[in-house]
């Protein structure tokens, strides 16, 4: 029976960074990183966009093989196709997630963590109480064989499914209105600015979400959308995407396809319990306004890994000790997400004519002076009902 100090379940950005940081903080610990799929980073269920500054806290994208494209512009498309260009230096990157996730897992391995692919956790229970060993006993399936792993601390980084949280008795369920249903193709041979990401809003295009074009090279891009099912006309995400692509890029070759869920909620109420911490998508640590989660996941993974290392050294992995992880996360980003969530709710009340009008107003600002802040200011002038939301956000 493998006996571990830290068992990380899920080798995406949250899990890989958690294992890496735990081992780096306390090299004497036995740390294992489990990946259900046969390869870390595959299949990709992601639009692969990431902000520059957040990424650099964990990895240097300059010249890296896992960085597919540097992005220097954002182009918003109103529902009526009016383009609004917002140029900023160092906006971000479109990653090659297959390589990026493998890079992070390799960092964990280099620090001394054991990476196990094709290895699926299927259940776990705490062996506490009198006569218990105070460890989590995790049932792990590898090549069809079940084995029990014992661990002092389990870090659940298992994505949208969030089974580790469920097994630990935490509430990881999501209300339907806060689930974005996403579909995406890799399109080849398309005409778009390879240095820009495009975001298009519209009730007929992606109700409750947006459609995106994230270039991975010249003429190649992740083209997808996310929507809220409760707001649709009954079609699913793939059908909405097919309609959008048929209109925009009817001749493009579709060389890849993925679907998935993005939780646009706020952090789960409790991300920890005795010997367990939940990080990344599994704990709903996604920016509810943008749907971005990669950097958040890595930041949460770092907090969880370091907390696990310190707690084990102190011989205290209790609920009370691990609550420090939750507090640190809320202070770092979780409290901001509560504000973003309120803005999201306010934006939901706006219709296509508002965004069409805003796009035309903003285009009167010279492009070099166009920033997200100014766009937001114009939105406030046109829609004073947003002011209380903005006040709560900026105060």
């Amino acid at each position: 029976m493998p006996d571990l100090d830290v068992l990380v379940i899920g080798a995406g950005p949250a899990g890989a960074v958690a294992a890496w940081q735990a081992k780096q903080a306390a090299p004497e610990l036995d740390v294992a990183l489990l990946e259900r799929d046969r390869a870390v980073g595959s299949p990709v269920r992601c639009a692969e966009g990431v902000g520059d500054a957040g990424l650099r806290e964990f990895a240097n994208p300059d010249g890296a093989d896992w960085a597919a494209r540097k992005i220097t512009r954002v182009i918003f498309l109103a529902p009526d196709d009016t383009e609004v260009k917002v140029a900023e230096r160092d906006v971000g990157w479109v990653l090659d997630r297959t390589r990026f996730d493998a890079h992070l897992a390799a960092q964990a391995a280099a620090a001394g963590a054991e990476v196990l692919v094709g290895t699926e956790a299927t259940a776990m229970a705490r062996n506490g109480g009198r006569g218990g060993d105070n460890r989590w006993h995790v049932r792990v399936k590898q090549r069809g064989v079940d084995e029990i792993y014992r661990a002092r601390v389990v870090i659940g980084a298992d994505g949208v499914e969030a089974m580790v949280g469920r097994w630990a008795g935490l509430d990881t369920r999501v209300p339907s209105r806060d689930m974005e249903s996403c579909a995406q193709y890799v399109l080849q041979g398309i005409d778009c600015d390879p240095d820009a990401i495009y975001l298009q809003f519209g009730d007929a295009i992606a109700p409750g979400g947006y459609a995106w074009i994230f270039p991975k090279g010249v003429g190649v891009a992740n083209v997808g959308l996310g929507l809220v099912a409760l707001k649709t006309d009954g079609r699913n995400a793939r059908e909405y995407l097919d309609a959008w692509i048929a209109r925009r890029y009817p001749a493009a070759a579709r060389t890849g396809y993925t679907v998935g869920g993005v939780i646009v909620h706020t952090t789960i109420k409790k991300t920890y319990t005795d010997g367990v911490m939940i990080a990344g998508d599994a704990a709903h640590m996604i920016n509810p306004l943008s749907g971005g989660g990669i950097v958040n996941a890595m930041k949460a993974g770092r907090l969880a890994g370091c907390t696990a290392a310190a707690a084990i050294r102190e011989c205290d992995t209790s609920d009370r000790r691990l609550s420090a992880y939750h507090r640190a996360w809320m202070e770092l980003l979780g409290d901001d997400h509560l504000k973003y969530y309120r803005i999201k709710q306010a934006l939901e009340a706006l219709d296509d004519s508002f965004f069409n009008g805003l796009a035309r107003t903003v285009n009167k600002i010279p492009q070099e002076k166009r920033s997200l802040g100014r766009i937001f200011a114009h939105a406030l002038i046109k829609h004073p009902q947003l002011i209380p939301v903005a006040a709560r956000f900026f105060v």
Binding site: R45, V160, E161, A162, S181, A183, A237, E239, T258, G261
Partner: protein
């Protein structure tokens, strides 16, 4: 656990399902499982609430008569 037998329950078409896992956290009674790359809806746990149906990005879940 459900208290009333539903008229209809959700079933998955495995030929269409992409195993993305989106439906798992939407299920109030936690009747949906994804293990060994196979999605399963527990017949005896599903309450027929339909919360998983619309959000499936590929339409792999549908309601059928519970019989």
């Amino acid at each position: 656990m459900r208290h009333v037998t539903p008229d209809t329950i959700a079933v998955v078409d495995r030929a269409v399902c992409d195993r993305c896992g989106l439906c798992l956290p939407l299920c109030p009674p936690e009747a949906i499982h994804l293990e060994s790359n196979v999605l399963t809806v527990e017949r005896e746990t599903c309450t027929g609430c339909e919360k998983c149906i619309g959000p499936c990005p590929v339409g792999a879940l549908e309601m059928v008569a519970y019989a």
